[in-house]
């Protein structure tokens, strides 16, 4: 039994989103035919909300809600899965200059996994840093598809993945309700908990899936009304 999860999402807990988790789950229900995701992972910016409890919403919508974090390092932004008290004590998640190699190694030692996200994005993605500095060690997977990518960014991510043989994930990076589930990751295993997810992410046994609509052709633009 496979599981499709949107591994990269931001709710109103992030400073740059107003999206309530409940509205995300409702939107997934509404768009199930086009975006058949089984669950979402909340990756709030520079924080881990240890006490957030979404069980009532999981029950109401039958959609899995897991929690992780998106942190900022000297090699760009990275998703941290399997966050526990040891990691929160070891790292200041609000620090925008975390050392990437230390983070990757320490999180692995403490039982989690770090997945660099939007690697093809300027400045905050791995690709650009790899042009001028030595590659990081012990990277298992990177985010191949990101719902917020600009033109060329996913292509650069693909180039990096081909060169280094990384496993590849997908996530919407949604900050708006209606953008949830546009990109996701398909696991061949059944995932029910964050421990299941961390275990599966370490195996590399998954693939990114793209549910973004194809661009419709614009017939013609209306000139702005002027005086």
């Amino acid at each position: 039994m496979s599981t499709i999860l949107d591994l990269h999402t931001h709710s109103e807990a992030s400073e740059d989103s107003r999206a309530p988790v409940e509205a995300y789950l409702n939107w997934i229900k509404l768009r199930q035919a086009e975006r058949p995701v089984d669950g979402i992972v909340l990756t709030e910016h520079r924080q881990f909300n240890r006490d957030a409890d979404y069980r009532h919403l999981e029950d109401k919508f039958g959609t899995l809600v897991l929690r992780a974090s998106e942190v900022e390092t000297n090699y760009g932004h990275m998703l941290v899965f399997g966050v526990n008290d040891d990691m929160v004590a070891r790292f200041d998640f609000a620090d925008v200059r975390l050392d990437a190699q230390t983070l990757i190694d320490e999180v692995a030692r403490m039982g989690g996994i770090v997945v660099p996200c939007h690697p093809g994005r300027p400045n905050i993605g791995l690709y650009e840093h790899y042009q001028s500095r030595p590659p990081l060690e012990n990277v298992v997977a990177v985010e191949a598809l990101n719902g917020g990518s600009r033109k060329g960014e996913d292509e650069r991510s693909a180039e990096l993945i081909a060169k280094y043989g990384f496993a590849a994930t997908g996530g919407s990076d949604s900050h708006l309700v209606s953008l949830i589930g546009l990109c996701a990751t398909k696991f061949s295993a059944y995932i029910k908990t964050i421990d299941d997810l961390v275990r599966e992410l370490k195996t590399g046994n998954y693939e990114p899936v793209d549910f973004r609509p194809r661009r419709k052709t614009v017939p013609h633009a209306v000139a702005m009304e002027s005086r």
Binding site: E72, V96, N123, I124
Partner: protein
């Protein structure tokens, strides 16, 4: 490493600005610049029958009150370039021609994040717009992004 700033800056109101009169012509030109055609903003006769009993400015007009150097002299600068990164506006009451609008502002928050263009310091300024009757018209959180 966090951003260095004087914590006393937070929540301290700047000097409240002198009132600025909302001219009917300014609303008209604002509407023209945005291609606005809604009669409640553009047509006096139609607006009289509308929900506000006369012409009002489009809600977004609230963000156009710059009140001279009010911000630029008071906002802490952390880089060479400042950019408008976004706004969160609460529209409380319609702005009408003839309103005398004052603006009071304070620094709400300062934080750091990294993006496509590098390390950025965000300064959030909250402004409250009031009219001559001390009625609140809008609250605006301006997110200013500073980068080298």
């Amino acid at each position: 490493m966090a951003v260095n700033y004087d914590p006393a800056l937070i929540n301290k109101t700047f000097e409240i600005t002198e009132p600025v009169e909302v001219k009917a012509d300014k609303i008209k030109r604002y509407c023209a610049a945005l291609g606005e055609t809604n009669p409640i903003y553009t047509d006096e006769e139609a607006a009289k029958k509308g929900p506000y009993g006369g012409i009002v400015a489009p809600p977004s007009f609230a963000v156009t009150f710059r009140n001279g150097r009010h911000f630029f002299d008071n906002v802490p600068r952390f880089g060479l370039r400042g950019f408008d990164a976004g706004k969160d506006v609460e529209f409380v009451a319609p702005i009408r021609p003839g309103d005398q609008v004052t603006l009071s502002s304070h620094v709400k928050e300062i934080y750091e994040k990294t993006g496509r263009t590098g390390t950025m310091v965000f300064v959030v300024i909250r402004s409250t717009l009031k009219n001559q009757n001390d009625q609140v018209l809008a609250h605006i959180d301006h997110r200013f992004m500073n980068r080298p």
